[in-house]
């Protein structure tokens, strides 16, 4: 049993990390050796030039800061707003609930390419084209439906009796939510935060379409600078990608505590 488990785990690690390793290798390979050495696991000579260029010569530090602002704000906004909606969908019975759920689902079914132009017009109308604030609003709107379902599912899993008991003890509904239900819901909140953060961190199409100025670009849009009409600057692009993965790893390392801690922190025996 344990051996099978470890074998699986090793398999997943190799499958997940090998392409990343290959990119790391490319990012360290000098341009001239990239195509001349054939398929090798490690270049005969490595260079940090690409990292140097990305970090010090281009605008990548700016892109990373923009990406961080956008992703973090979006993740927090979505999680808060979706927690409210998920709570309503889980705890209340009301007319139109099925319609709302269906509507939320339908928003996910229409191809994004068909709505880019209309969204652009909405953003023009509210004067938020080419600004990070506009991008945050769009990301929030597009991540909300799934986050709502997710929060609903997690609220569904928490016995309503606990909340009712707290309300009998004199808590208001909001107090009961804050003191009893939310702590139990931490794994769900952690998963939602992580999901939305990475979705916003890696989103390209909206970022490319709604941002013009270099100073407002996020990292995925900035990385497109390395893809010109007839060649790709593989070394620098790989370096930028490796660098971009670091904050995400740190973020996950941080939020995994919520996902794992969840129930031990709350008390179910109340």
């Amino acid at each position: 049993m344990k051996i099978t488990k470890n074998a699986f785990l090793a398999g997943f690690l190799i499958f997940t990390l090998f392409p990343v390793f290959w990119m790391l290798k490319i990012s360290l390979t000098p341009d001239r050796l990239l195509f001349t050495e054939g398929i090798v696991m490690w270049p005969s000579r490595i260079t940090f030039d690409h990292y140097y260029a990305v970090l010090l010569e281009g605008s990548f530090p700016d892109y990373f800061i923009n990406s961080f602002i956008v992703s973090f704000t979006t993740a927090a906004m979505v999680t808060i707003i979706a927690a409210l909606a998920g709570y309503a969908l889980s705890r209340f019975d009301f007319k139109g609930k099925t319609i709302i759920i269906t509507l939320l689902l339908i928003t996910q079914m229409f191809p994004i390419v068909m709505v880019i132009a209309p969204i652009y017009n909405v953003l023009t109308f509210i004067n938020l084209v080419d600004s990070l604030a506009g991008l945050i609003l769009v990301y929030t709107a597009f991540n909300l439906p799934f986050a709502c379902f997710l929060m609903q599912t997690f609220f569904d899993g928490i016995p309503i009796e606990l909340e009712e008991a707290a309300m009998i003890d004199g808590c208001t509904r909001l107090q009961a939510l804050e003191k009893v239900t939310l702590p139990l819901c931490l794994p769900g909140i952690g998963a939602t935060l992580g999901f939305v953060f990475t979705a916003a961190w890696s989103e390209l199409l909206f970022a490319l379409m709604f941002i013009n100025r270099q100073s407002q670009m996020t990292f995925p849009a900035g990385i497109m600078n390395f893809v010109t009409k007839f060649s790709v600057d593989w070394g620098q692009m790989a370096a930028a990608m490796i660098l971009a993965l670091i904050p995400v790893c740190l973020f996950f390392a941080y939020i995994q505590r919520f996902i794992v801690q969840g129930l031990t922190a709350g008390s179910l025996k109340g």
Binding site: D31, R32, L34, F35, T36, G58, T73, A76, M77, I80, I81, I116, A117, Y120, N121, T124, I126, N127, L128, V129, D130, S131, A133, G134, I136, L137, L174, L177, E178, L182, L208, M209, N212, R213, Q214, M224, N225, V227, T228, K229, F230, S231, V232
Partner: protein, 436 residues
């Protein structure tokens, strides 16, 4: 906790609101220019030329938006549709008719005419940028095709000369493919590759025109079908790499410099990418092979600067276009981009008879070669070029369709588009001129 969360949401929304209320500049002296074929070095040069424009016109400022090639078309379409069109746009030939027929590009004729330029200008420059005798764009350089070949691999295969005719081309490709791990020809089967088909079809036809006078496509002529059969055979016999059927420009270039394939149909702007990765002594260029008629019709594409109809600062915008095309600026531009310049003298400065540019220089100077221009005035050309021919060309190379069926399909598409165009414009003769 809930309270803090609510305050956070309100602060973010308040920030968005303040952004929405802020009046973004509607400065009458500010021009916006969009470049689409972006590279970091080129953006730097463009910025420098814009700075000199600002210096020469005190009070004017110019902002530049650099789009990456892959998404530029969608993005400009959206900016235009959203009523936020820039003033000056870098306009590739195959987009031009779309924007012109939508009434989005300003007529240059009142602002710029040929007399402003000297005789050294390539004679057809203004024709290329015109639709229905109205000037909409001025090319900033030509994407002319020639053949580059790997001298080292040629020597290894015992081939002394680059191919002069299509027969030589076929035999050379076959001979090169005898080398282990090498294919003769780098076929460009994905997006951007179809001009090779057009070249081989017109060259085998011995006629550069896409249409006869009645508006029927020449792609179903016997020569055109033979041309397709020739390239299909090159692929089928393994003289081109198997995966080249879906190669984009990136893959063909890396296929060439990695030595996977030894001949490549290329525009001169890609040479820079090759020079950083290959020894310049290891490869050379030659004009595209001649057809049975003793002529060859390499494709000539162009990208130019256009002023948008929505612009409220047209006079200044045209002045900027003229500034970018001034001889000195154009020379820097041509040197950096590697394109065939629009001034003949600069051409001779940049493309050296003994250097890598020899193939292009010969193409421009020798009568046996004349340029093939796509029917860019047809609004359907972008669809034809980027979807129809790519997918059905692949089906032909893979043996799912015969060259004859394929040629018929393409000819039918083009004939329908051309006849529609003739019906809509009473005076079509002006247009066929642009093909000559």
């Amino acid at each position: 906790m809930i309270k803090a969360a609510m305050i956070f949401v309100i602060v973010v929304l308040g920030y968005a609101l303040s952004q929405a209320m802020s009046d973004k500049d509607h400065d009458p002296n500010n021009l916006l220019i969009v470049e689409v074929n972006t590279s970091p070095e080129r953006t730097k040069l463009l910025r420098g030329q814009l700075d000199s424009f600002e210096a020469a016109n005190p009070g004017m400022t110019v902002d530049v938006i650099s789009l990456s090639w892959g998404q530029a078309f969608e993005k400009i379409a959206m900016m235009v549709a959203g009523g936020k069109a820039p003033d000056v746009v870098e306009m590739p030939d195959f987009w031009l008719s779309r924007y012109v027929s939508a009434g989005q590009i300003a007529d240059m004729t009142p602002y710029i005419n040929e007399d402003d330029f000297d005789d050294d200008l390539e004679a057809d420059t203004f024709d290329y940028g015109s639709i229905n005798e109205t000037l909409y764009t001025i090319p900033y350089g030509y994407y002319l095709r020639a053949l580059i070949y790997n001298k080292k691999l040629f020597a290894e295969a015992g081939i002394e000369k680059p191919p002069l005719t299509l027969d030589d081309f076929y035999n050379t490709a076959a001979k090169l493919s005898e080398l282990p791990g090498v294919s003769g020809f780098c076929h460009h089967g994905g997006r951007g590759g179809p001009v090779f088909f057009y070249w081989i079809m017109t060259t085998m036809n011995g006629n550069v025109d896409f249409f006869d006078e009645a508006g029927n496509s020449t792609f179903y002529n016997q020569g055109a079908i033979d041309g397709l059969t020739l390239i299909r055979d090159i692929y089928k016999n393994g003289y081109a790499p198997k995966d080249s059927v879906n190669w984009g420009l990136n893959e063909t270039v890396s296929g060439f410099y990695s030595g996977t394939c030894a001949m490549l149909h290329l525009t001169p702007d890609s040479l820079a990418a090759l020079n950083t990765r290959m020894d310049p002594d290891d490869f050379a260029s030659t004009p595209m092979p001649l057809g049975p008629s003793g002529k060859s019709f390499p494709h000539l594409g162009y990208i130019g600067w256009s002023v948008m109809e929505q612009s409220t600062k047209k006079a200044a915008a045209f002045k900027l276009v003229e500034h970018l095309l001034e001889r000195e600026n154009h020379k820097q531009w041509a040197e950096l981009s590697g394109l065939v310049p629009i001034y003949k003298e600069i051409l001779e400065d940049i493309f050296d008879e003994d250097g890598i540019g020899a193939g292009w220089l010969k193409t421009t100077q020798d009568d046996r070669w004349s340029y093939m221009i796509n029917p860019n005035y047809l609004p359907e050309i972008a669809e034809f070029d980027s979807i129809t021919v790519v997918q059905s060309g692949q089906a032909m190379m893979l043996g799912e369709k015969t060259p004859e069926e394929t040629a018929k399909m393409w000819a039918d598409f083009l004939t329908a588009a051309q006849k529609k165009y003739i019906a809509e414009n009473e005076n079509p003769e002006n247009e066929s001129k642009a093909n000559e």
